[in-house]
């Protein structure tokens, strides 16, 4: 099949990579293939080891165990300045004593490129990241957050690395600008065709930009997949909760069916994919947008009684908090389907088994 599209080769391969600080395990036996040209995002809560992982990939730390290979070459101990990779720091790490131009030219300067060539390349890159040409001689300390962001990316591109790493570069930027920069970054990825590995703890960022997302938790990579997979088929409760606000109920097998553990009732549940047939309990994850209020006469696979106790507008959608026993469940409706005002009233919540995801307990 000479014409079938070849699967892209892994450019970076991690096998059993582990990093400990004294006794503390920061990164725990990670296996991962990073494909040539992909945009891979690593998400995970604070302290889950994302930065530590990236620093090993960039060459600023060595793994305690395991191997990192770049195109098949073991690079565990290759120092950062010898790797064809470049990291954009969360702090950006722009050199405050240099101008925008000098910052961008920096990697060329240390490589001994002559001034004219450097200047030419810097101007190209300034244009590429959509900064005005006049910024060439502006001090970086006088640039705004978004501009600094772009300078940092231009500088990384000037190094012309094969892989670019980003450590939460947008976390300090305000919402609106963040949206713009996210899209620009994606464009730059597309235009340069380089491999991007991006860290964030914002799932929204990850969803918008990535080809694949890896979810980390306590040093482990718990799931890697396309945004779609992560969203629709989380492997466990942690991933499902991390991916957004969700309703999770615990169910236990009772004969043929399932009973709620933390809410009363019997439920129709599709058992977790790939689980043993005789699994005894599971978490059922239902996204708020798949929940609905049942009016008398309407039916759903599952129904449960509750009391609306709060109602929020989320722009085009409206979110309801519904108290079911001790638990609070979320229902998200589009503005068009909004309930008439009357919070506090008793309602019936319903959802279909196919809209729920069940994961191992």
């Amino acid at each position: 099949m000479p014409d079938a599209p070849k699967p892209p080769l892994p450019i970076l391969q991690l096998v059993g990579v582990r990093k400990t600080f004294n006794d503390f395990v920061a990164v725990d036996r990670i296996d991962l293939d990073v494909l040539e040209g992909e945009f891979l995002t690593i998400v995970g809560p604070s302290g889950s080891g994302k930065t530590t992982l990236l620093r090993m990939l960039a060459g600023m730390d060595s793994p305690t165990e395991g191997n990192i290979t770049l195109r098949g070459q073991r690079i565990n101990d290759l120092p950062a300045n010898k790797r064809p990779t470049c990291l954009v720091f969360q702090s950006l790490a722009l050199f405050p004593h240099k101008t925008v131009g000098e910052n961008i030219e920096f990697p060329l300067k240390v490589r001994g490129v002559d001034a004219a060539t450097r200047r030419k390349r810097a101007k190209e890159l300034i244009a590429a990241v959509r900064l005005p040409e006049s910024y060439y001689s502006k001090s970086v300390t006088k640039c705004s957050g978004g501009e600094r962001q772009r300078v940092a990316i231009a500088r990384a591109l000037a190094y012309d690395p094969e892989v670019l790493f980003f450590d939460e570069p947008l976390s300090a930027i305000d919402y609106k600008l963040k949206k713009i920069l996210e899209k620009e970054l994606k464009d730059i990825h597309r235009e340069t065709g380089k491999t991007f590995i991006y860290i964030t703890h914002s799932l929204e960022e990850a969803m918008v930009m990535s080809d694949r997302i890896g979810v980390m938790r306590a040093g482990r990579l718990v799931q890697v997949g396309t945004p779609e997979q992560i969203y629709s088929a989380p492997v466990d409760r942690f991933v499902s909760e991390f991916v957004g606000e969700v309703n999770v109920i615990e169910v236990a097998r009772r004969g043929d069916g399932w009973t709620g553990v933390d809410v009363p009732g019997a439920f129709r549940v599709n058992p977790p994919a790939g689980a043993d047939a005789d699994i005894a309990s599971a978490f059922v994850v239902i996204r708020p947008e798949f929940m609905r209020f049942l009016t008398p006469g309407q039916t759903a696979d599952n129904a449960i009684q509750g009391q609306i106790y709060n109602e929020y507008s989320l722009g085009s959608r409206i979110q309801y908090q519904v108290r079911v026993g001790e638990k609070v469940m979320l229902v998200e409706l589009s503005r068009a389907n909004a309930l008439p005002p009357g919070a506090g009233s008793t309602v019936t919540l319903g959802w279909d088994a196919r809209d729920a995801i069940s994961v191992r307990a």
């Binding site: 600023m60 950062a80 300045n81 470049c86 720091f89 702090s91 790490a93 240390v110």
Partner: protein
Amino acid sequence: MQQEKKRTRFFIAIWTAIVVVAIYLPIVCGALASLSKGRYFGFPVRTFSFEWWQRTVDSIEIGMIVRNSVAVAAMVTVVSVIVAFCGALAFARYDWKGRRLFQKIVLLPIFFPQPVLGLALLLWFSALGIQTSWLTAAFAHLVWIVPVVTLVIAIQVYGFDPSLEEAAFDLGCSRVQVLREVTLPLLWPGIWSGALFAFLLSWGNFPLSLYTAGADSTIPKWLYAKMVAGYTPMVPALGTMSTLGAAAALLGAGLVAMIIRRQRAA
């Protein structure tokens, strides 16, 4: 609220002004004594004269001790900046096992009475059979100036973002290039103020020089010797000159810093 706040601010400003005046009062009195013709001071000064200044400037002896003072201070400046620069990195930049302990050890000499330190050094030199001279005095100065300068530079280092060094390294720099392109330029202000402190503290030091300079004299040591026996208004004259010299150095450094900042800003 505003009223009360204003009153507090006023009190603080007045208090500070009083203390500043008190600080400079004796220095001014010294200058007055150096400008009076009479050997023994009386106020109001009966006759002013530059005679003592003239004699001070003309003296070979004083030329020698000024040279000694400059030599000691220059040497102390150079060595202490280099040593303290490294020390400051260990103090504030790197996270290493012994850091906490190191920080405390570095501070100890600052918290130590200098006359006792001077004597201890004298005993030590004499036990080693080392002849004391301006060189040993410079060494003695280093013992307490290096910690001070370490502290001064460390404060700058605390504000230094280590990821800048990592970024430079990541962008292909060698260790040396990182130092030259990033670390040093960013720490210059701290290094300069460290150097200024080193120079001036050495310039004004008396207790260490007294015990460790041997046959060589420095300005403060000479002033003391003359004050104790052999007082003439050359004592306050040289004292005033030395003070003015220090002020000029400080002012000069300030001006240079300002010009550099202006140029940067431009």
